[in-house]
């Protein structure tokens, strides 16, 4: 049976802000920190391949902090990719070639990579609080993970509070 304090206070599994920061910095790093290595590798590959394809097409890499609102929005989306975007833009001075045929098409790849990583950051936040975006198509079927989480819930929140103390 759950104690009264466990019912009223939700405790994160890991430091959410640090994990979100890591997830933004390198795609997949937040999931890796939460022990989801396979997913982390897949997300990293997806985001990085989008960026590389965009750069190979000499696509547009938005970098505008004033002027057109749409351009600023595209910059925000691209910056969602974190360190790889900053390295390409500042380290390699990459901005795309406006005369290249893939300038706009490649830009779509690059901005999409950033937006995908922003989704990963939000997913990491949920995962830190014990929620999961991923669902099953048939909710009635009980998976091993469901059974494990149910047994953990039955064991009260001792491990959860331990993780909270460790992260604090």
């Amino acid at each position: 049976m759950k104690s009264k304090s466990a019912q009223s206070v939700e405790l994160p599994l890991a430091n959410p802000w640090l994990t979100m920061g890591l997830a933004w910095l390198v795609p997949g790093l937040g999931h890796l920190r939460l022990g989801r290595g396979a997913r982390a590798a897949l997300f990293f590959a997806c985001c990085l391949s989008m960026l590389v394809i965009g750069c190979l097409l000499e696509g547009r890499m938005p970098w505008a902090f004033s002027g057109s609102p749409l351009e600023r929005l595209a910059t925000f989306g691209g910056l969602g990719l974190g360190l790889p975007y900053l390295i390409a833009r500042l380290g390699f001075d990459y901005s795309g070639d406006v005369t290249a045929p893939g300038y706009e098409y490649g830009g779509a790849f690059i901005v999409t990579a950033g937006l995908m990583n922003l989704l990963l950051v939000l997913d990491v936040w949920d995962l830190c609080w014990g929620k999961e975006l991923a669902v099953d198509d048939e909710p009635s079927a009980t998976t091993d993970r469901d059974e494990a989480s149910e047994s953990e819930a039955d064991d009260d929140s001792g491990a959860n509070s331990g993780a909270k103390e460790a992260s604090a």
Partner: protein, 63 residues
């Protein structure tokens, strides 16, 4: 690379990403992947065919 190939590549990566992000079981992930991939590629081809009825006409004069 052709536009169709690039579009398919884009659809492939986006579909893999969302299938892995929003489904837990492998079978569900594969089903969602094909649904998304088919919707993206099929939708784009369908839209392209619809544009047949709206020809662009001669290019606009340069001012």
């Amino acid at each position: 690379m052709s536009h169709v190939l690039l579009m398919s590549l884009y659809a492939f990566i986006v579909s893999v990403f969302f299938a892995a992000l929003s489904r837990r079981r492998r079978a569900d992930q594969i089903r969602l992947f094909w649904t998304l991939f088919g919707a993206l590629v099929g939708g784009a081809i369908a839209l392209a065919w619809l544009m047949y009825f709206f020809p662009s006409g001669p290019p606009a004069p340069i001012p």
